[in-house]
């Protein structure tokens, strides 16, 4: 079984995000790290491997050469090898362009399963898995809360607002896992130190056979015309507990049709 996990380097999610007013883009010059949601995807792949299925886990990343440390973090979490597309021509890629680059990388190898984290913590984008699946013409399920492998069939419990859907799909497939699917383990110190010694494949656009005009700024269709802060919340209702708070809260919820 060959599993690819598409991971992303993001600005430290614990730090406040800043937008460059000149370019309308997120400032990425500070401390960058592995998208925390991707750790759930890696953990899930490791659990499949630990269940006894012979598995090779590849970490796939599109990003600048400086993202090599993020690749190592992902490998320390449980990958066996990495494929890193690092080319200056990728700068300014939007979702369309990045999905094209990722699909091209994934097509170079016959992966049975491609996993994503549910979202990227930088732009809070949830759709990359779907975009890549579309390009690869593979079935795709998002928000997976559990994965069960049965031969070449994957059963996915999918979290939805009203409960769970259970979806069966043939492999190869693309799945984005919810952050409730597992609790990622801490990478061990030997794994952290061993990550650098795992096989790293670093590719340019030419190596990967990607036309430079289809990625980067040239291959992107997104223009950020303006940015504004989200509207503030409306006036809050303060309920002091004089013994009737529970009733008042219930009345408020009923009035606003939160509960019926």
């Amino acid at each position: 079984m060959k599993i690819a996990i598409c991971v992303k380097e993001v600005p430290d999610p614990t730090a406040e995000k800043r937008i460059d007013p000149g370019t309308n883009r997120l400032v990425r010059t500070g401390e960058n790290t592995l998208n925390p949601y991707d750790r759930h995807a890696i953990e899930e792949a490791v659990r499949i491997k630990e269940s006894g299925v012979e598995t090779e886990i590849s970490i796939v990343l599109v990003g600048p050469a400086s993202a090599a440390r993020t690749v190592d973090k992902a490998l320390a979490q449980g990958g066996d090898r990495s494929v890193h597309l690092a080319d200056d021509g990728l700068a300014d890629s939007d979702i369309l362009a990045t999905s094209r680059a990722l699909a091209a990388l994934l097509e170079r190898d016959a992966y049975d399963l491609v996993l994503f984290g549910q979202q990227a913590s930088d732009a809070e984008c949830y759709v990359m898995a779907a975009a890549v699946a579309e390009r690869l013409d593979r079935p795709c399920v998002s928000q997976a809360a559990s994965l069960t492998l049965d031969g070449s069939t994957l059963r996915v419990k999918r979290q939805v607002e009203t409960g769970y859907d259970t979806v069966e799909m043939p492999l190869p497939a693309v799945v984005s896992v919810s952050d409730a699917i597992n609790e990622p383990r801490y990478p061990s110190l030997p794994a952290i130190m061993g990550a650098k010694r795992k096989p790293h494949e670093v590719l340019s656009l030419a190596d990967a056979g990607i036309d430079p005009d289809t990625v980067g700024g040239a291959g992107s269709r997104t223009t950020v015309r303006g940015l504004s802060k989200p509207a503030g919340r409306g006036a809050s209702v303060r309920i002091e507990d004089d013994g009737t708070a529970a009733e008042k809260i219930l009345a408020f919820l009923v009035e606003n049709k939160v509960v019926v």
């Binding site: 010059t29 440390r69 320390a76 990478p187 110190l189 952290i192």
Partner: protein, 401 residues
């Protein structure tokens, strides 16, 4: 981008070193800081934290790679101890016996002793403690009274040890005894023993561990006990370094003590970092006289002094660790780091308490724990009074005219 408080910048660390330290910081943030308050209030051994550290491979940090450890350098070790101590200094105490005794075995042990103990120390399966101090002998190590006399293939140990961290849960004791009580000078009659025992047992052969453990101002969650030996028998093979190790114990233990001092300095650094972190946040959240207290100059002076002390401590610790790592004698540097960083820790804990006002004094908040955990560092691993003597003697010897 907001700069991280107490980042690893400016220390000239390799990617490996940074990755290891960041992993430990992540563990401390997620697993230690949210639980330490209750654990310390209950004086409870942090089993879950210890299990997590074991899974991470932290127990083998200083054990050579060929015996199953990570063989990490002293700088990474020191900064890792600071990170753990930023969460809870007791946790650094729990892992420290492992490092001291493991280091002694790696340096002075026979091949048989290395094979026998090091892999289990690296995995955390075997926990150990280090025991030198006695009721009437602390800084003055030459004054110890515990004896081990030979009877055939055995050694018979009599005497009492004090303030043994991890003493109950340890399965191995690194023990300093006198095998020749008449030796002059006394250190020539001292021997280091590797005494195995059943972990968690209060009575094993002639060894008794009186319960309950000693009550302390801080440093909770990890037991500090007495060890009472009354005719306790161990095989003669327990001598560190084999038969040639007899009479070498004082020197073997002293070679590890520079590392021990760097360790205590690093614990001070960790506490100071946490005290500062809390103080600079609170100084911006709390307002008085119409503005955040961090805008008042007297609070600013405190923040500036704390941060300066912390940065200086880090540099002293890293310099001492680098010198020791390079194989040089680092008694003066380790002494300076220990003296300075632990005094800074106490000042930072107190200043953070003053900045927090009444909240800092409350048991509901973290500061009072930091305040109670620092005095041990002034006393342990050679009091700061002794450190000054060591530094001065070392300097006079180096610059003798």
């Amino acid at each position: 981008m907001k700069e991280r408080i107490c980042s690893f910048d400016g220390l000239d660390l390799s990617d490996d070193q940074r990755d290891v330290l960041e992993a430990i910081r992540g563990f401390v943030d997620a697993e230690i800081l949210p639980t330490v308050h209750q654990l310390e209030a209950d004086d409870e051994f942090p089993q879950k934290i210890v299990d997590g550290l074991r899974d991470m491979g932290l127990f083998g940090m200083r054990i050579p790679v060929e015996y199953g450890g990570l063989g990490l350098d002293l700088v990474t070790y020191a900064l890792a101890i600071a990170e753990l101590s930023r969460g809870w200094t007791s946790v650094s105490g729990i892992v420290n016996g492992q490092y001291i005794v493991g280091g002694m075995i790696a340096t002075h042990g026979t091949e048989e002793q290395k094979q026998r103990f090091l892999p289990r120390l690296a995995s955390g399966e075997l926990r150990c403690c280090f025991s030198m101090t006695e009721p009437d002998a602390g800084s003055d190590v030459r004054a110890i009274r515990m004896t081990a006399r030979r009877e055939g293939d055995e050694l018979v140990i009599d005497g009492q040890k004090m303030w043994v961290t991890n003493g109950l849960r340890a399965g191995l004791i690194g023990l300093l005894v006198k095998t020749d009580p008449t030796a002059d000078p006394p250190q020539k009659g001292m021997t280091a023993l590797l005494v195995e025992k059943e972990a968690g047992q209060e009575q094993v052969g002639g060894l008794t561990i009186p319960m309950p453990p000693l009550k302390k101002l801080g440093y909770k969650g990890v037991e500090s006990v007495e060890l009472v030996f009354d005719g306790h028998r161990v095989p003669a093979s327990a001598i560190l370094g084999g038969p040639d190790g007899e009479g070498q114990g004082f020197y073997q233990m002293m070679s590890g003590i520079e590392t021990g001092r760097i360790n205590v300095a690093a614990r001070g650094l960790g506490i100071a970092m946490r005290a500062f972190e809390l103080a600079i946040r609170y100084a911006q959240e709390r307002s008085a006289f119409g503005k955040p207290i961090g805008q008042h100059q007297l609070i600013q002076a405190k923040l500036a002094d704390m941060a300066t002390g912390i940065e200086a401590s880090r540099q002293l610790i890293v310099a001492a660790a680098r010198k020791k790592q390079a194989g040089g004698r680092a008694d003066v540097e380790a002494g300076m780091a220990k003296l300075f960083a632990t005094e800074v820790a106490q000042r930072c804990a107190e200043e953070s308490m003053r900045i927090h006002g009444g909240y800092g004094y409350s048991r509901e908040y973290e500061i009072e724990r930091l305040y109670r955990d620092t005095p041990l560092l002034l006393i342990g691993e050679g009091t700061n009074e002794i450190q000054r003597l060591i530094i001065a003697r070392g300097l006079l010897a180096r610059h003798a005219v």
